[in-house]
Subunit: 386 residues, 4 copies
Amino acid sequence: MTIAGRTPTSSGFYVSEEVPIHAENPVPTPSSPAPDILRCAYMELVVTDLAASREFYVDVLGLTVTEEDDEAIYLRTIEEFIHHNLVLRKGPVAAVAAFSYRVRTPEDLDKAVAFYTELGCRVQRREDGFVKGIGDSVRVEDPLGFPYEFFHAVEHVERLAWRYDLHSPGAIMRLDHFNQVTPDVPKAVRHYQDLGFRVTEDIQDSDGVVYAAWMRRKPTVHDTATTGGDGPRMHHVAFATHEKHNILAICDKLGALRRSDAIERGPGRHGVSNAFYLYLRDPDGHRVEIYTQDYYTGDPDNPVITWDVHDNQRRDWWGNPVVPSWYTEASPVLDLDGNPQPVVARTDASEMAVTIGADGFSYTRKDDTEEMPEYKQGEYKLGYQL
Amino acid sequence: MTIAGRTPTSSGFYVSEEVPIHAENPVPTPSSPAPDILRCAYMELVVTDLAASREFYVDVLGLTVTEEDDEAIYLRTIEEFIHHNLVLRKGPVAAVAAFSYRVRTPEDLDKAVAFYTELGCRVQRREDGFVKGIGDSVRVEDPLGFPYEFFHAVEHVERLAWRYDLHSPGAIMRLDHFNQVTPDVPKAVRHYQDLGFRVTEDIQDSDGVVYAAWMRRKPTVHDTATTGGDGPRMHHVAFATHEKHNILAICDKLGALRRSDAIERGPGRHGVSNAFYLYLRDPDGHRVEIYTQDYYTGDPDNPVITWDVHDNQRRDWWGNPVVPSWYTEASPVLDLDGNPQPVVARTDASEMAVTIGADGFSYTRKDDTEEMPEYKQGEYKLGYQL
Amino acid sequence: MTIAGRTPTSSGFYVSEEVPIHAENPVPTPSSPAPDILRCAYMELVVTDLAASREFYVDVLGLTVTEEDDEAIYLRTIEEFIHHNLVLRKGPVAAVAAFSYRVRTPEDLDKAVAFYTELGCRVQRREDGFVKGIGDSVRVEDPLGFPYEFFHAVEHVERLAWRYDLHSPGAIMRLDHFNQVTPDVPKAVRHYQDLGFRVTEDIQDSDGVVYAAWMRRKPTVHDTATTGGDGPRMHHVAFATHEKHNILAICDKLGALRRSDAIERGPGRHGVSNAFYLYLRDPDGHRVEIYTQDYYTGDPDNPVITWDVHDNQRRDWWGNPVVPSWYTEASPVLDLDGNPQPVVARTDASEMAVTIGADGFSYTRKDDTEEMPEYKQGEYKLGYQL
Amino acid sequence: MTIAGRTPTSSGFYVSEEVPIHAENPVPTPSSPAPDILRCAYMELVVTDLAASREFYVDVLGLTVTEEDDEAIYLRTIEEFIHHNLVLRKGPVAAVAAFSYRVRTPEDLDKAVAFYTELGCRVQRREDGFVKGIGDSVRVEDPLGFPYEFFHAVEHVERLAWRYDLHSPGAIMRLDHFNQVTPDVPKAVRHYQDLGFRVTEDIQDSDGVVYAAWMRRKPTVHDTATTGGDGPRMHHVAFATHEKHNILAICDKLGALRRSDAIERGPGRHGVSNAFYLYLRDPDGHRVEIYTQDYYTGDPDNPVITWDVHDNQRRDWWGNPVVPSWYTEASPVLDLDGNPQPVVARTDASEMAVTIGADGFSYTRKDDTEEMPEYKQGEYKLGYQL
């Protein structure tokens, strides 16, 4: 359902019931049932300098080391009780080795094998897991080219939520979500709906072009999202804090460490998700979001929110423009042999081109015939300044 | 599993796997499957002065009126998209008419009817609902004497999360949970486990007496809790804010309105749930909690946390004592004819008596042989002061 | 004392004792003593559409109306006990009619008259004040062309700090400071030192060019600042909140009202002053800063902080670049007849040109030989993007 | 001016112009001019276990060690640029050795000597100071028995405000004020007015009995306050944070360290000063307040606020009662030989007795004829509970 002819809510976006997404060129829907995914659980990142990455994730961001050796560091957030939410593994090329989800039961791994086998995907299963702390696991190259992992068995560790003596001003509480870059967003959404994800929000234009979509298993706005662009690539991994000042504290600390150039975009308030956000780049350029205060989405009829791509409050509710690198840069993802997946170019319109490029346009008030104030134009029109 | 002989975590509480609770005198487990409950959805409160209650919930707390007439006011929180989270209905005696839960599908109502019918409970079903905005509904007098409601069909309304122009400094985002007073906590927990609830935390002593337990459907610490005491009665209904300063703002506003005597306990930090809290009393004495920042509990093996009843940080992490009224006062609940349910006395030990009473004791450090500092004793020993 | 050859603190800036500033072309120092200024007290703004301005300052920002009529609106902040901190007066051209300071005693007005008379400035005195709520007042066209006012007698009004029922999420507590654009910063600073101001911070390059300076009477970082540029013009007027989330709430509300294009720059953390900030533009384009949490400067030997103009954390501690309009746009100021003062061009180097222009450069780490990460360059080099 | 017959503001307190306080038995006013005091600068505390005190002030509260040896530790707050704000000195009896104020010029020390010599007080002067980091200093036994110190010369150290990498969640920014217990409050206030202090707030009853008063030099609510009671004793020393959540973080950390019994009162919102507060007790029982967000008082006609002693929102705006120890316990102060000063009993009515004692009363709404709600009575009437 495109936004053409529809009436927006008083906040400027559109609301509808979720329906199966139409894709021109869909991945087939398997007859095998999907595994029951609980939540995004951890990402395995390949980093080129383990010491530099440790400094970033442990000394700057304050993640807790569960375990480490010369090859890998296992990190968790303060509220976590499973072994880790992030694995940093030393390797030759900065990339993502796994988007890992926890499933409800051990039997869901059999379902995962059948589901992806039916789709003709490459599937590996290891009873003692691909990484420390995790038991029986299934890894696949999914139909969109992403390395997805599923597991249930996991080592429990102490939940440090009450250990306020260990909290820093920018304390990170939970892993929140992944974000994947893929050329054909409707195709990806349709496939992830087959895998059991529910759509919560998306960005479209009045012709029905879909620029991005957000999908959840746990009842937040997302466990993963798909961003239209050349892919498969990893756009970002996101962690949650309790309050907004925790995110500001991370910025302040980066300034104090003279590492403010790790800040790529924000802090700001998202339109999509209504969360407060910040985007950082780690020493390899992997993008990390710090995020807080989206909303409950767990009812089956949770309204799907659609944003007009030309609404300049969709990605930043305060109308601050997205920096170009945020649209164009992303991390390679690996196949099951550890080689980077080839990237396919997006053919649909690019969100950057239609909004801030020379021919793009964005509005603050939908039917406003006035242009942006002169003092804002330099921010929105690339090449306009000076 | 009692705490005797176990080793606490570094935070002072105990962790275990959830197991079915043993009750001396259990409610039978029905063979009919339980309805699939999504979350606590709304409470119907009977109030004696509708105008006074409206002033409290709308003008002071800032809840949004979805609909109102001379008999009832339907209120919702900022992030809600269903018709209401609270119904205030005019009546002769302040009481609770319904603890209402939303279920996943319309068919879950048939399951609810079968489940409670098998238990010999009184059951009513109305296709057009017992209140406005809600469709087909089942109300029961549950085996513990509480008026429980289940529904799926509901009118959607606008989610106001993005309408920051309408937010107050103490903006309330969601309904979070209920809390029920009942004499036999293990009996209640066992029954609610049969209904599909999962235990997240409880308070015990080393003899295995259970003083209170927290249970969830949505992946927060609870959708409802049972507090040991004379019951069935309603202990409180709780709403969530985004940040701690929102809760402080409610206190500040009550001061400005010279209504600070509505504050019964807090603000403070809970041990149980790790949330920041405040307890208010409405014009009829109904207790309302404002609450923020508990933790994710959605994994099936989420560790159950057990607190020692003598740990004086269990109910307030800062060691501030619980005021006596919080233990002793609660609201009547109604049967399906609208008459108050008779109250049965608790026979197990009372949490107040074993902790702050003349013979009770509480510790800050488990193996500390020193007494509380003299300046704290007056707070802990009732009758000690002056 | 320029920064060449000096050693920075561990935070990257330089510290020195305050000394009288050297100016090439100084305003003479009067032999008459300066009036004893307490603080910046209010600004009189000429606005072209009184209703539009009222909506911005009252409905959006939440300032309190002390008094209003068809020609003018008198507004105050929550903690203020004098009649107003801002006068909005209807007029044909958006401009500033007065930068008004409160002095310690009625006799300080005689000193003000003598001080400016000796300087050959145009001076007016009105026993019953130029605006409502203010008594005996002196207005001058100061040697730099700014309309300065001094007064002591003022009507007291109720301080609303305890009236939390009236506070909005973005509650504004105090008027904090003014900021003036002037071509010759050292000349201006030297003159304001003669008037009794103390320098707290400035921005220089290694050749000793001064780009901006901050000066105080009350013990905060400033009551006014001078920004190098074509002047005399008014750069901004700043108000203070208690906490950072109050400033974020103003952004969120502007988004909800679809007025986010009022946000020109920020929110962010200043290097200079260490305060958290936001810059807005009112309906006439007057710039308003919202500001919180600078530091105490009241000791006579308070260290002067000097920032290197090429330090990209000086104006935003997080390294977010300043938008061009912030450097170039400002409001006219009026002479005592109500006519805009002619503007004189700055001849020293422009801060924008030396930092973000084609030939400018900025660093995050002083001795870093690496360039900015590629993803930041588009933000720093105007015209670089795409 | 007593409150009898006066009209309160809409917030419930009374406002008047400051006048010299009438004291029955005043300290004479010296003909020598008072030294020009800038601000409270540091307290010298005698502690019995230096390691235990270091753990409390450094490891728990996060103060910065400027210098230390086996006998003393010199601590400062994050924004401070002078050598220290607190000296912990090892000694046999926990007590206060100095309330130290910084004066504007070196010559103010001569004034201090003359001022106190004229009053017949014992005076000592040391050119190289009584403690490290401080130069020429004067110490006196003031007419009320308090060890007051004055100094100007001081070693500068780095202001760490920008060093966010060193900040903890409960970061303490500034020393804010002292609080002194003295039997005759009007006598004390009158004397400190002679020393140049200005009164900002006080607590009285309708007979004109003064229970406490707040006095400032820097433009906050106070540099010191006098609390009616047996004295001379030190009631507390107070430090300021930026935001309210910083204070809550200190409570949370104390809980995590199982040291919550260090919390004596709060956190809460003061009526007097409008600040958010927390009272701790250090390992020797010295009381420390953490405080934030009072208001600007620097204008000479700043309105004096008088609170009715029976207004139960005067000391806690939320109406939470003051714990008895807060009224009765305080630290000894030393004479210039290091011996504890003898304590003189208060003869005027005690604030505790007239408010929460058996015969006392407190109101939330002045003319309310109803009693406190039953659930609050146990908190207000000592001995009422159970």
